[in-house]
């Protein structure tokens, strides 16, 4: 992949980053109290220092510049409700757990979605195709919050298959493999719920892509060469249909974060979502803003990664 393309893509990131900073800065300004209050409520000493450092008597542009520098350096302020813990530290503790949840959901949903699309694509418009299609529509439309409750109700409470809360069993403290298993068991339901709507999306995109590619001339040309139908499907049609799936993963990460927030609340999963909601309830503005900034930046990084992966996979746009 040409270095020029990478550079260009990186350059496009800059305005978005600026945008994130601007939006959060504007929100800070809109809050009652001055900016330093918003960013550091509670600790009076820190507030005073911050106020001085932020030069709140200076024009907005300068304030913005100071704010931007602080954020980019990693200083996201101090929590107002958690004994002055640094926001960065809090996020560092909670974020990985969300990554675990989201990462598993993404991988699972992608694999299952593609597999389903391939299976359904073998007999287009057959009974399997129609059934899975309808299921996908439902899976996509059912709101995550309710789906989660249904999962808890059916799989957790009634059937007793999975624990319905937390990341680990609070009664016992495991080590090593047992710990992993404990986390895994607690991870199952949240991932299942989060992945369901994702599977639906991946399936729809992959299936549509497959349908479109199957009608293209090169597929017919492959048949004309005598290639076996299942190889035509896997090697030609599916391979090409996977391109939009890559794109979709990138765009869905934003929705995935939102879904994760809800899921974490439902299952008391101690991740960023829980952190965010708790902070929002307590009006812990530094934490809320910090989380949003981090999530937005993570999204930018994810989109960038998606674009680069896409360029890697599609030779047509490498040589821009």
């Amino acid at each position: 992949m040409s270095g020029r393309y990478v550079l260009r893509r990186l350059a496009q990131v800059v305005p978005t980053v600026v945008g994130i900073l601007v939006i959060t800065f504007v929100l800070i300004q809109l809050a009652p109290g001055d900016a330093a209050d918003t960013l550091s409520e509670g600790d009076a000493e820190y507030t005073r220092q911050l106020r001085a450092r932020m030069r709140l008597d200076r024009p907005l542009i300068e304030q913005f510049w100071a704010y931007a520098k602080r954020v980019l350096r990693g200083d996201l302020g101090v929590s107002s409700t958690q004994n002055g813990r640094s926001v960065k530290g809090l996020i560092g503790e909670y974020l990985p757990r969300t990554m675990l949840l989201m990462g598993t959901a993404v991988v699972l949903s992608t694999l299952v979605g593609i597999a389903l699309a391939a299976r359904a694509g073998r007999r287009p418009d057959g009974p399997l195709d129609a059934t899975i299609g309808a299921g996908a529509l439902l899976g996509y439309a059912v709101p995550v919050m309710w789906l989660g409750q249904l999962a808890i109700l059916v799989l957790g409470l009634r059937a007793g298959l999975f624990p319905v809360g937390g990341m680990t069993d609070p009664r016992v403290s495991y080590g090593g493999i047992d710990h992993l298993l404990d986390v895994g068991v607690h991870l199952a339901l949240p991932v299942l719920v989060l992945a369901t709507s994702e599977v639906a999306m991946v399936y729809r995109v992959a299936r549509t892509g497959l349908r479109q590619e199957s009608q293209k001339e090169y597929v017919r040309a492959a048949h004309a060469k005598g290639v076996r139908p299942d190889r035509v499907l896997s090697h030609h049609a599916m391979r090409n249909a996977l391109l939009p799936v890559v794109t979709i993963i990138g765009t869905r990460i934003g929705f995935l974060f939102s879904g994760a927030v809800v899921v974490e609340r439902l299952f008391a999963w101690p991740g960023m979502g829980t952190l965010l909601i708790t902070a929002a309830e307590r009006r812990d503005r530094p934490v809320v803003l910090g989380v949003v900034v981090v999530v937005a930046f993570a999204l930018v990084a994810a989109t960038l990664a998606t674009d680069l992966v896409y360029a890697l996979v599609d030779p047509r746009i490498r040589y821009d």
Binding site: P15, T16, V17, V18, G19, I20, V22, I23, T24, L27, I28, L30, A31, T38, L137, L138, Y140, A141, V142, P143, V144, M145, W146, Q149, L150, I152, L153, L157, Q212, Q215, E217, R220, G254, F255, F257, S258, V261, V262, R265, L266, L276, I277, A279, A280, E281, R283, D284, R285, V288, L289, V291, V292, V295, A296, L299, V300
Partner: protein
């Protein structure tokens, strides 16, 4: 140019002709109406009811009662009202801003376009849901705030679509420059834009609506909604501690919410089918005649399709192909 009312009824008829369209309307219209007529259907303050608690669904209580003796039916209906008010307000505002910005951006081009598109990119950087949470924490939990915020994050999609349409129309105008449109001023361009823009915008609106419904309910579910309004999300959250034995507290609000979301999505698909035929090479119906005169793309596609006899259904109408 087709008259508005004629294409309106024709559109409705075509929509009803499709199973997806019918299902979508069935899923969307009853809840929407219920929400809009909440005051009539379930008068009074639903939160102030005092019926026996935890009654399962019955003839008297269609959806049962909850942990505080409130009839779920009334609560659901008022929750729908909140959803509908939010949806309608957001869509109206977002449409106005989106169309205006998109048209301006596409028509003017140049620096104006650049700046506006940068603005669009920036606004799309942060997911709307998170922004709403932040707004809640920072600005308080008023429904109007939410409406403004959702509108502010929804207009961008419309702006992009409108801009694309304007650009394509603009190009065509220049192609036909030989015909000397004279000063193809704002008026002419608008007269050509509107028929082409409206279908594309209409297709997206239900999807926007679905998104708004979900965010509004999601926020309420998390406890971050307007405490003065009843929301379906709140109802679902309220059901959580009582899931084991009182399933109706979760199921009814959930079903209604799902119906709304599913319905909007299907509606968007159905609109898309009716108003836009992307890959079949047929000229989309209800478009301005100017489109037919445009050679290239669709025409060539039809020729290839006919020559390869690959089209399964439809355009083997040879006469049309040789145009």
């Amino acid at each position: 140019m087709t008259s508005r009312s004629r294409s309106g009824t024709a559109f409705l008829r075509r929509l009803l002709g499709r199973p997806a369209g019918v299902v979508a309307l069935v899923l969307v219209v009853p809840p929407a109406l219920a929400g809009l007529l909440a005051g009539r259907i379930a008068p009074g303050n639903p939160k102030a009811q005092a019926y026996p608690t935890f009654r399962p669904p019955s003839r008297e209580f269609l959806m049962g009662t909850d942990n505080e003796g409130r009839a779920l039916f009334a609560m659901v209906v008022h929750g729908l009202a909140t959803s509908m008010v939010t949806v309608v307000s957001v869509i109206v505002i977002a449409a106005v801003i989106g169309v205006a910005v998109g048209a301006l951006s596409g028509y003017r081009g140049g620096v104006v376009d650049g700046v506006l598109m940068r603005l669009v990119d920036m606004l799309e950087a942060v997911p709307a849901f998170f922004l709403a949470i932040v707004a809640f924490a920072v600005l308080g939990s008023d429904q109007n705030t939410l409406i403004v915020l959702l509108a502010a994050t929804s207009w961008t999609a419309l702006a992009r679509i409108v801009r694309a349409q304007v650009l394509s129309v603009k190009r065509r105008e220049f192609v036909q420059a030989a015909r000397s449109l004279g000063s193809s001023g704002v008026r002419t361009v608008i007269r050509h834009i509107l028929p082409n823009v409206t279908p594309a915008v209409i297709v997206v609106l239900p999807l926007l609506a679905s998104r708004v419904v979900l965010i509004e309910a999601g926020l309420a579910f998390l406890g971050l909604g307007d405490p003065n309004r009843l929301s379906l999300g709140y109802l679902i959250a309220n059901a959580q501690p009582h899931l084991q034995y009182y399933w109706w507290m979760s199921v009814f609000p959930g079903l209604v919410l799902t119906s709304l979301v599913l319905g909007f999505n299907l509606l968007g698909d159905a609109f898309n089918d009716v108003l836009d035929r992307p890959s079949e090479g047929q000229a989309p119906e209800g478009r301005a005649p100017a489109r037919r005169a445009w050679p290239g793309g669709a025409g060539r596609q039809r020729v290839v399709a006919a020559a390869a006899a690959g089209a399964a259904a439809g355009p083997l109408d040879v006469a049309a192909v040789l145009d």
